[in-house]
Structure formats: C-alpha cells, structure tokens
C-alpha cells in the first residue's frame, strides 16, 4: 500500500503553474531514468552500464539487479530494495501466480520498473549521468567559448535559415499561416544572410550563460538555446529538417519573419533580388532600383 500511495499521491500542489511546465522540461532533459542505455558510470574497478548492468538485470529480478549495485547504494536504499525483492519473490511463487496470474505479472512489472528507475536515479544523480550528458557537456563547451564547436553550429544554423545560397521570403503569407501551395506563392530570393556569433562584452561582468547569433548583421539576435544546438547536432548526424522539434521550427520561423521585414525594404540587399510568382518562369528582378522582367530559361542559359 505504501508504494501505491507514493506513486499516486499528488505532489504538485505547491508548484506554481508557470513553474510546472519548466520543471517538466528540466526533468525530461535531466532525468537519469531516461538516460540512454549506453550511459555508463566509471567505477574504480569496472564500468557500470545503465543498459546491460541495470536495466537488463532488474528486468530479470530485483535480487539480480540489487546484487550488481548493492555496494553503490546507501543503507536506506538497500533496505527498501530488499523489501521490494521479497515482494518480487513472493509474486514469482507458484501459490500467488496460480490464483491471479495477470495481476501478479502486472504487479511484478511495476515494482521491477520502479526499482530500476529508483537505482538509475540514485546512481545517475550521484555520478552525474543524465540523458544526453555528452551533448550537454558539448553545449557547455560552446557557451564557455570553444570556437570550433561554435563555428560548426553557426554554419548549420546558417544552412537552416537560408535555402541553399539564397535567403527566401514568402511575400504573401503572414504570421502563423501555413506555407501556401507553390502555384499560389510569391517569393523573393536575395543573397544569403550570414550568421555570425555575437561577442558579448565580458569585462567587468560575469560570462554570459547564453550565446547569441546575429543574422544578416541586422535585427534581433538569435539565442543559441540548448534545443537549437541539439537539433543542429542531430541534423549533423543525419536527421531530416522535417523532423525538427516544434519549438525550434517556431524559433527559426520567427527569426526568418523578423528578418524578412528588413530584407524586403533594404535596397542594398534587394539589388539583384528575384521575385518569383507561383510556378511561372517569369522572374521580376530588382536592378539599380528598377524592376526588370526576365525569363528563368534565359537566366539559366
């Protein structure tokens, strides 16, 4: 019953409503229970892997798992796990199994899962193992000034903002509107908008905790958030841009929309820019402050 109360008791009564989603976000990013199976803890004599040494063993039985990690836990934790181990054994006994097999199996799964998470969290917190801890370490390096990593991330963001070698603005869509079908779209293609890291002054103040990127040298700088950084790294590892998480897509869209307002008015950027209408081959180009009509076939020839 104690376990049941512990798992079902409401614990968020005192958490303010704005704090709740943030805490959820942090727990998702840092919870050792969600760490990858390949995560490991370096002990003095051996390496302990989350996957094969904890998950696999606890899924067989709590006793099996406990034998692996007994020395690494506190007395209180061991005591709790021992009690759970007894329950686990009892649930495996034929007397219980025969009477209510489905319930017994479900119950056993629950306590094994609980024990596994419990150990993962306890060890993860103590040894600093979290989900994506490698990525987090890299992100910390970028923030503290590793120029090589920062340069790599900047190039990737630049590729996301621009379309090949051009910056494209859709002229007939507004905020929040899904992209209109190609035959109804009017776009302007200008020169590529460069992304550069912004050097924030550090003299006389603590080092900044967020790096900012300037886009096109104008407008609002873009914050290199952890989510953006992670997406950039995942893209590097072969993820498709269509799979980018929603907040990152929203961030990039907002940045593009902000930049679009500047781009469509700046004669310097617009010189040589091309307006394309739907799927037509006609191109309206801006040259020396005048509109010139060209044909895309002629241009490519």
């Amino acid at each position: 019953m104690g376990l049941h109360y512990f798992l079902s008791a409401p614990r968020d009564t005192s958490v303010p409503s704005t704090l709740k989603p943030q805490l959820l976000g942090i727990s998702e990013a840092l919870d050792p229970a969600l760490a990858e199976p390949a995560s490991k803890i370096q002990l003095s004599t051996r390496e302990l892997f989350f996957g094969k040494d904890i998950d696999a063993r606890f899924s067989q039985s709590i006793g099996e798992g406990l034998s692996q990690v007994r020395r690494l836990l506190t007395i209180l934790e061991v005591e709790l796990l021992q009690k759970l181990e007894q329950t686990d054994e009892l649930l495996s006994s034929s007397a219980v199994r025969r009477r209510r097999p489905a319930t017994a199996r479900r119950m056993q799964n629950l306590i094994r899962d609980f024990a596994c998470r419990f150990v993962r969290r306890s060890l993860g917190v103590r040894y600093g193992v979290t989900r994506e801890c490698d990525m987090l370490a890299e992100f910390e390096n970028v923030i503290s000034g590793n120029t090589q990593l920062l340069h790599k991330a900047v190039k990737q963001v630049e590729a996301l903002i621009n379309d090949d070698d051009h910056f494209v603005v859709v002229l007939n869509s507004t905020f929040g509107e899904p992209l209109v079908p190609l035959p109804r779209r009017a776009t302007v293609r200008t020169t590529k908008q460069r992304v550069r890291p912004v050097d924030s002054p550090t003299t006389g103040r603590p080092a900044p905790t967020v790096r900012f990127l300037s886009i096109g040298g104008k407008g609002h700088p873009l914050a290199l958030t952890y989510e953006l950084f992670r997406s950039v790294r995942e893209l590097e590892n072969g993820m498709l841009p269509a799979s980018l998480p929603r907040p990152v897509v929203a961030l990039l869209d907002t940045t593009k929309a902000r930049l679009a307002g500047v781009v469509v008015r700046d004669e310097d950027i617009l010189d040589g820019a091309e307006i394309r209408i739907g799927t037509r081959e006609t191109i309206i180009s801006r040259e020396l402050g005048e509109f010139v009509v060209l044909n895309s076939r002629e241009v490519s020839a």
Binding site: N172, T174, G261, V293
Partner: protein, 506 residues
C-alpha cells in the same frame, strides 16, 4: 414624420434627434462584412473618396475582363506576360472564397495595395453596400481627444496605407502594375475626415470606451509597419480593425440599453443621474461583452436584441415628448442626456397617462417586430452577421487554404459544421495585441496588463487561467512571454517587434 408613422414602422421612422443628433446611434448601420471588406472599405474611405461602394463589383468585373484581353494588356505598357499577371490576380493575390461563394465568379483579392480596393472588397456583390470604412472613420473621431488629433491620425493612416519608396518590394511592384491598369480615373488622395467627435471633449477625457483604446492601438500598428512585410502588416492592421470595430458596435448597443434602463428608472422613480453619473454609469465601458474561451454568438445576439428594444423605447419617449410639446433637439453629450432624463421625470405622469408604456410594450413584444427583435431579420440580424463574420475565422471553400486567416478573434470550437464560435484569438491578433499593449509601457509588463488591454475592448480573460489555457499556449508558441517562476507564476510579455519601442523612445 409623426408618432403614428413611428408606430407603423419603428425601424424606419426614428426621431430626428435620435437619427442625427445622438452620439450613441449606430451609424452607418452595420451589415454583413468580412475583415478584408473592412480593410478594403477603409482604403476607399481614406484615399479613393470618389469611388462609391456600390460601384466596386462592376469595376471588379470589368477589371477581370480586361485582364483577359490581350490588346488591353499590351496597351497598358507592362513588361510582364499576361498569363503571369493572371496568376497574380487569381492565385497569389486571391483571397479564398467562403463555402457559400464557391460557385460565384468574381474577383476577391487580399487588400495588399490601395488599388486592389478599387476592384474588390465591397460588402455586397450587387446593389447598395453599406460602408464599413465610414464606421472606422467615425471611430477615429470618437476615440481621438480632439479633431486635430483625429486628423493627424487620419493623415498617418493614409500615408501608411499608401505605397512609398520605402515599402515592401512586392507591394511596390504590385502598385506599379496596378497603376498601369487603372482606368476609372480614381486617384489616391487623402479624403476629408468629417468632424464627428461623438462626445464633447471635456466629457470624453474622463470616459473609457473601446474607440479610445482603438485609436491608441491604431497608431501603434502604423508604427510597426517598417518591421514586417506588407502582407504581415496588412493582416496586423486587419486584426486591429476587427477587434476595434466590433467592440465599438457592441459598446454602442450597450449604451443604448443603459440609456433605456435609465429612462425607465426615471419613469418610475425620482432617479435623475447628474451628467457625471450618466458618464460613469451609462457611457463608460466598465463591464465586458465577451469572455475568452466562451461561445460568442448568443451573447452578441443578446446585445443586438437589447439594442433594438432600447431603440424602440428611446424613440417612443422622444416622439411622445414631442407630441406633448417638449422638443428634444439633440443628445450629443452626457449633459443633454441627463437633461432628457430630468424632463422624463418631470413629465412622468403625463407620459404614463398617454399610454407610453403600453405603446412601448406593444412595439417591443407585439408580433410585428418579434422577428426583428429576436435578430431573425433586419437590423438585429445584420448586427449579428457583422460581428460574427468580422471576428470569426474565414471559412474557406478550398480546404488547402483554410489557414489563410490568422487574425481572427473567434474560431469554431470543433471541426463539425455547426460547432459554436468561441472567443479564441489567432496568432496575428495576439501579436497585434501584445505589440499595442507594450507600446504604451516603458518597462516590462506582466500578463495582467494584457488582460486589462483586452478588457478595454470588452473581452474578459481570467488571469489565473491564462498560463494553462489557450491564450497562454499561443503566447508561448509565439515566443511572446517569459515565464518567471521567481515572481510566483508571473509571466512577462516580450515585445514582438523590438525596434518599435526604440523608435518611440528615440
């Protein structure tokens, strides 16, 4: 005109003082319009004064015909081929048709540049249309401190609606192309703003009503123009006009009702409020008309119905007083309104003896006007149609274009066709609102300020539910809030177009 004629048709024969010399008479009478119709009509009211609303559909038909005639195309001197121009008109600029318009062939374009308003965007496709642009004109007059301020804003609006050298490249190109094809001699020239201040200046300054907030916000939207593309700005302006115009009409409905209630109190008890009390109790917008997240149409219908009841009542009293030899010349201030209430009180016995109550009851509850008062036909039905179509998200015949309208205030609660319309703002309206809300402020502002801003338009938002509700979700999605756990569930607003604040302070 007389009492008899009024009894015969109470909607047609309003008392001359009510018709022409009242600040709370709804003029022009709103009918069906969409948000784009309001914007197009505003273009015409602002710069194409010579073009009447009823001439627009014919001009549109002719323009569409011309766009298919090779000879006319060549004569215009354009460098672009005819097929591409047709794609511009019928594809890129086309504003999606509503499900009931899908079979009709007419030109309906997004009002990106002034010239578009010459050919599309009238409330009706045939016959006389009402003029929503005039409603906005009157709102600017009502909301401004004085005529000079109204004129300055009108000038700024004219300049912003026009296309200058610093405008969006797409708008400049469209302006040039439409200019080559302009035929009906229309010229983009600022029109005269009539001096219709509504209330006297000294009374206006201590009252709160939606038009006052609208005027401040309109200036904010104009200021934000350089920070976005033309289409984005036009949709931002459209969102502001939607909220402002409907709030203004609902406020007028409510004022009518409050005035009628005050007259009834004066008829039955010695309750004559002073001019100041009239302002605070009857005129100022203290309550709210709509509630965020709740169905809107039944409430709008209720306001419209109450307005009709009040209109009959007020007119009956005015006509009856005239019969008794008391001439009411105008009701253009709280002072005059207070005077009317006093006179009603003084003549109470005569008015009651003349059977005023029976007349009013017969007109309000009789069979003849029942359908009109229930908003099934006539003025009431038009008012509901106006509010619902201006605020509601555009329903499109073409399923692919259903995301076209993002500046809505009402949306369908669910997918099914008879789903109720609930108050839920679209991304563009939220951006416009947050921008205008922060424009007034020098420092950071919390979510409470946004709630107050919405309350100025008569929309109530429960502050405690913002964080978890639809509004909070959209604000977060648009990156317009910073959650601040230190401030015990405080949410700070982030200016969407950061350059505008700098311009203001510079």
């Amino acid at each position: 005109m007389s009492m008899e004629a009024f009894k015969e048709n109470p909607w047609k024969e309003s008392h001359p003082a009510y018709e022409k010399k009242t600040f709370f008479h709804i003029r022009p009478a709103p009918e069906f319009a969409t948000a784009e119709v309001v914007v197009s009509s505003l273009y015409r009211a602002c710069g194409f004064e010579t073009l009447a609303e009823k001439d627009v559909p014919a001009a549109g038909r002719e323009f569409a015909k011309d766009s298919q005639a090779p000879r006319i195309h060549e004569r215009s001197g354009t460098k672009i081929d005819m097929e591409t121009w047709r794609v511009v008109l019928n594809g890129v600029l086309e504003s999606p048709k509503q499900p009931n318009q899908s079979s009709k062939r007419f030109l309906q374009m997004c009002p990106l540049v002034p010239d578009v308003a010459l050919y599309s965007g009238s409330a009706r496709l045939a016959g006389n249309s009402w003029n929503p642009g005039q409603l906005i004109q009157r709102m600017i007059g009502y909301g401004s401190e004085n005529y000079q301020q109204a004129q300055n804003l009108w000038q700024k609006l004219y300049e912003a609606l026009g296309i200058s050298g610093t405008d969006d490249i797409w708008a400049r190109w469209l302006h040039q192309e439409f200019g080559l094809r302009r035929r009906n001699g229309a010229e983009w020239k600022i029109s005269h703003l009539p001096d219709e201040g509504g209330l006297p200046l000294q009374e206006k300054s201590r009252l709160n009503f939606p038009a006052r907030q609208f005027v401040r916000d309109l200036e904010g939207v104009i200021q934000a123009k350089p920070f976005m593309t033309r289409r984005q700005w036009v949709s931002l302006l459209e969102a502001q006009l939607r909220l402002g115009s409907v709030a203004h009409v609902l406020w007028l409905c409510d004022v009518n009702y409050q005035v009628w209630q005050a007259i009834r109190r004066a008829l039955h008890a010695d309750d004559y409020p002073s001019a100041e009390e009239v302002g605070n109790r009857l005129i100022s917008c203290t309550g709210h008309y709509l509630t965020y997240g709740n169905p809107a149409v039944p409430i709008i219908r209720d306001y419209a119905s109450r307005y009709l009841v009040a209109r009959i009542g007020i007119n009956a009293v005015l006509w009856q007083l005239q019969v008794m030899g008391v001439e009411i010349k105008s009701l253009e201030s709280c002072e005059e309104l207070s005077g009317l209430l006093r006179k009603v009180g003084e003549k109470r016995n005569q008015l009651l003896a003349a059977g005023l109550e029976a007349t009013v009851t017969e007109l309000q509850e009789g069979e003849k006007n029942a359908r009109a008062i229930a908003c099934k036909k006539g003025i009431g039905s038009n008012l509901v149609e106006f509010a619902r179509h201006v605020l509601g998200q555009r329903q499109t015949a073409n399923e692919i274009l259903r995301g076209y309208d993002q500046g809505y205030i009402l949306r369908k609660k669910a997918e099914y066709s008879s789903a109720p319309w609930i108050v839920s703002m679209g991304p563009v309206s939220i951006l416009a609102l947050v921008h205008c809300c922060l424009r007034d402020a020098a420092g950071p502002r919390s979510i409470q300020k946004l709630c107050q801003h919405l309350a100025a338009y008569g929309i109530r938002v429960d502050r405690d539910n913002v964080t978890t509700g639809d509004l909070g979700r959209k604000l977060r999605m648009l990156g317009l809030v910073l959650d601040s756990p230190d401030a015990e569930s405080g949410m700070l607003l982030v200016p969407p177009f950061d350059g505008t604040l700098k311009t203001q302070s510079a």
